[in-house]
Each structure stands twice: as structure tokens, then as C-alpha cells.
Symmetry: C2
Subunit: 260 residues, 2 copies
């Protein structure tokens, strides 16, 4: 598939089950999003959790109960236009499916949250290394000892992604990613992993370990997986999320959401 496919074309392919794989690198330059769907009765508290924890949970769009067409992608349907979904019931994993038309209902609210794919394009453009891409792996993710600010029944530890680079590159990475405040923004930490409760970089909690070269330091960004841990931190009747790596592709360009 050419990366020149438009977001609308890509969503159509996904809806027709002609695209069922992860969306990394697809419709390059367009904003991809984490999806969380949950009961309207807890929507205020979950929105509050996101507002109180904007670095891991940057809000791109929130739909009213029962609605499936996002403002940031007219014509799209969130029940069918992601390649793969995870369904949780009573706080536990239930199933993975390619269409949630039979699971979503009128009393559920959908949240679209920013994803680090946006700033990765900008980092590549600035000549910065993204080791997991170089090594054909999923990014390394770790559960830290930092707690997010809770809201109602929702709580979670801060989850981070890690990308290794030299100190000079880390300075540049701070500059480049600061502009992307709605897609996790500037790093939350750099250097000593134990400072945020990570004892072994070689054993990430999610994703794959990557090579850290001599002279490199780990640089950590807030990660959208935090929002999934929060959404499933209390036993709601049903929560639907995107399956890892299988994101929603919007019509917004990465640049549309930069602060500068």
C-alpha cells in the first residue's frame, strides 16, 4: 500500500476489511488517534481524568453519547473504521474484533486521544533516531512509579515510551516534540530510568526492547496506553479501545495541532 493513500481512502479500505493490519506509517502526515469508548454515565469522570492528565491523555475529540462520526473526520464511523478493537467487560479483557457495531450502543461515549506517531514524523524530519523503527520493532513502553491525578473511579500509573539518543539529540528532541502538545508533547523524563521507577530497560512492560548504543541516554515520553489502563481501572460494564497499533486515522494533519 502506498503511503500516499488519503485518510478517507484508508478508512474505506479498513471498513471493507481490505486493511486489517496496524496503521503505523499509513496515510503519513495525518494525525492518528487512540480510541476509548465507555458508558455515558462515567463519561464526565473519564473526560476529567484526561483533562487532569493532558500529557498521557491529550484530547483530540469527544463525541456525544451514541455518536460515531468524529468532528475531526467527517463521514467516518468509529464502529467500523479502525482495523482492530479490544473489548473489555467488567474491567477484564473480553475479545478482539475487527468491527464493534455489535458492541457499541447509544449509551456509550467515544474519546479520541493523541498518539506519538505525530511527533515521530517530525523527529525523523529533524534527523533524530527512532531506534524501534530502525530495528523493525514496536516502541518500548514502561509502567512508571508516577501516578496520574485520579478522577472519579479512574486511576492509573503514568506509562511512558522510550527512545534512546545522544544528549545533543535529546535537546533537539525536546525542541521538536514541544510543538506537538496534543500528541504527548515534550519528554516527561530523560536519563536515569530508576528515577521514574523503571528498573530494567531491557524488559519493557509493553512493546519490544531496543538497542541503546554507547553514549546514548533514554528519553521518555508520556504514552497513550495510560488512558487504556485508566479506562479499565474500574469494572465498567463495557470498554472498547483500539487494539495496540491499530489506530484511528483522522483528516487532521500532524501540523494542524502544533502550538507554534
Amino acid at each position: 500500500m502506498s503511503p500516499a493513500v488519503s485518510p478517507r481512502q484508508l478508512r474505506q479500505l479498513i471498513r471493507n476489511r481490505k486493511w486489517t493490519s496496524p496503521t503505523s506509517g499509513a496515510a503519513s502526515g495525518y494525525l492518528q488517534a487512540n480510541l476509548v469508548m465507555l458508558p455515558a454515565a462515567e463519561a464526565f469522570n473519564f473526560l476529567l481524568f484526561c483533562v487532569r492528565n493532558p500529557k498521557p491523555c491529550p484530547i483530540l475529540d469527544v463525541l456525544e453519547p451514541g455518536q460515531v462520526e468524529p468532528i475531526i473526520a467527517p463521514g467516518a464511523d468509529l464502529r467500523t473504521d479502525l482495523p482492530r478493537y479490544t473489548v473489555f467487560e467488567n474491567g477484564e479483557f473480553n475479545t478482539e474484533v475487527e468491527d464493534v457495531s455489535d458492541y457499541f450502543n447509544d449509551s456509550m461515549v467515544s474519546f479520541l486521544l493523541g498518539c506519538s506517531f505525530s511527533f515521530e514524523n517530525a523527529m525523523l524530519a529533524a534527523g533524530l533516531p527512532i531506534r524501534n523503527m530502525e530495528e523493525g520493532k514496536n516502541v518500548s513502553m514502561y509502567i512508571t512509579n508516577k501516578r496520574c491525578t485520579p478522577a472519579g473511579p479512574f486511576s492509573a500509573p503514568l506509562v511512558v515510551t522510550m527512545r534512546p539518543m545522544t544528549a545533543a539529540q535529546a535537546v533537539r528532541a525536546v525542541q521538536v516534540t514541544t510543538r506537538f502538545h496534543l500528541t504527548h508533547g515534550a519528554p516527561v523524563h530523560l536519563g536515569d530510568p530508576e528515577n521514574i521507577g523503571i528498573s530494567n530497560l531491557g524488559e519493557p512492560d509493553f512493546g519490544d526492547p531496543v538497542t541503546i548504543k554507547p553514549g546514548e541516554i533514554p528519553v521518555f515520553w508520556a504514552c497513550g496506553v495510560t488512558s487504556q489502563l485508566a479506562a479499565t481501572s474500574t469494572p465498567l460494564s463495557r470498554v472498547i479501545t483500539h487494539a495496540p497499533g491499530h489506530m484511528f486515522v483522522s483528516d487532521l494533519k500532524d501540523e494542524d495541532l502544533t502550538i507554534l
Copy 2:
């Protein structure tokens, strides 16, 4: 009163009715906020309105139903720590009071939203003119022909403040205020007022008219009054807001919320 009074001291004076005047210039350097309190049943929709319209309604803090102590000001009580409040019932003005202990109840939610006082300090530090301060007036505010994105029953036109300056100063003002994205951020317009539906700068909808000198252009920023128009756009049983100019003074410094 010395501007060196701390936010905590100022709130104590207000609570004891020893300070009942507007808060402009008080506890200089500390973040002041717009207050909106409304029934929990509509809190999700109002939060959604703010999320969808971040320039006029930048969210600083949202409290859970019945709570009165903000995260951004430990020890404060939102029912007593603003010098003056406006109470609306069924969408209509009801009364102005100095204490809302008899009006706030456990089924209401409080929102604190950013205020342009923060970036005014930064503009002054950069040597930029704030004409209404020079002339001892309230800032000029106008209802524009731009509509905010609605949410549930809430809708409002965008309200703007206007500050006149030279074009070169306007460029500098864009730079200075961009950093303050949680206190209205960069201008929404500059130049021709008719472009945003303002026919006569000499007749603001709120506040006072100010002098525009030869060679100056009007520069427009999103204004927190938008949130009050939204909160009262549907006949809720009760809405409480700060009275104009009588803001909540938090413990955060203006600099704490800058993006860069």
C-alpha cells in the same frame, strides 16, 4: 493593598469580606481564573464545550460534584474565596452576592477557566501597550459573528477582547501570548474588525471603549466571557459565575502554564 500579598493571604481577606473589589493587579504574577458552577447532570456537556473551544474556554481545573477545594489552590473554598459572584436561575440573571454558600450544593460541579490577566503581565514585561490599563478602563469586549462548536445544549458566539497597537507590536504580541495557551494564547484575529462581525469598535458589548491611535491596528484575543454566555445559553436550574473582574486567584504562577 500591596501587590506583594500572597494568593493565600488574598483569599483569606476575601473570605473575611475585607477585600470585596475586583482582583485585577492583586497577587501579581499568580494565575487568576474564571469560575463557572452548574448542575452535575450537565457537567459532561459543559466540559465538552470547553474541550471543543479551548481558546475562549481553557480549562485550568474541574472539581468533582460537591467539591469546593481546587487542585490549583489547596485550602481554598470556591464558595467564599471570590469577592463577588453572579447567580443565574433558569437561564436568567438572579442576583449578585459575596458568598455562594447558600446557593452551591452537592449536585453542582465547578469549573476554573483561564483568564487574560496572565498574558497581560507578560505583555507589559515585553513593553507592549495595554491601552485600557493606561486609560484606567475595563478591557473592550465584543461579541463576534464566529460561532463556538456547540456541545449538548450549550452554544455561544465567540467573545473577544481587543487591544490596539502598532503592527510591529502586534507581531511581538503574537509571540509573547502564544506561550500562554491555557490563558487564551495567541490572538484569534488582527486588523479589520468587520471580518469577525464587529461594526463599531467604539461600542463594545462589554467593558469600555479605548483610544486607538493613528497607525495602530486592533488585535483580538478569545475571551472568557464566552464561557458565561455558553453556561447560560440553556435554562439550567442554577448557574453561578464570578462577577465581572472579580476572579478566583490560584496558587499557580502565570509561568507554570506556559508551553515553552
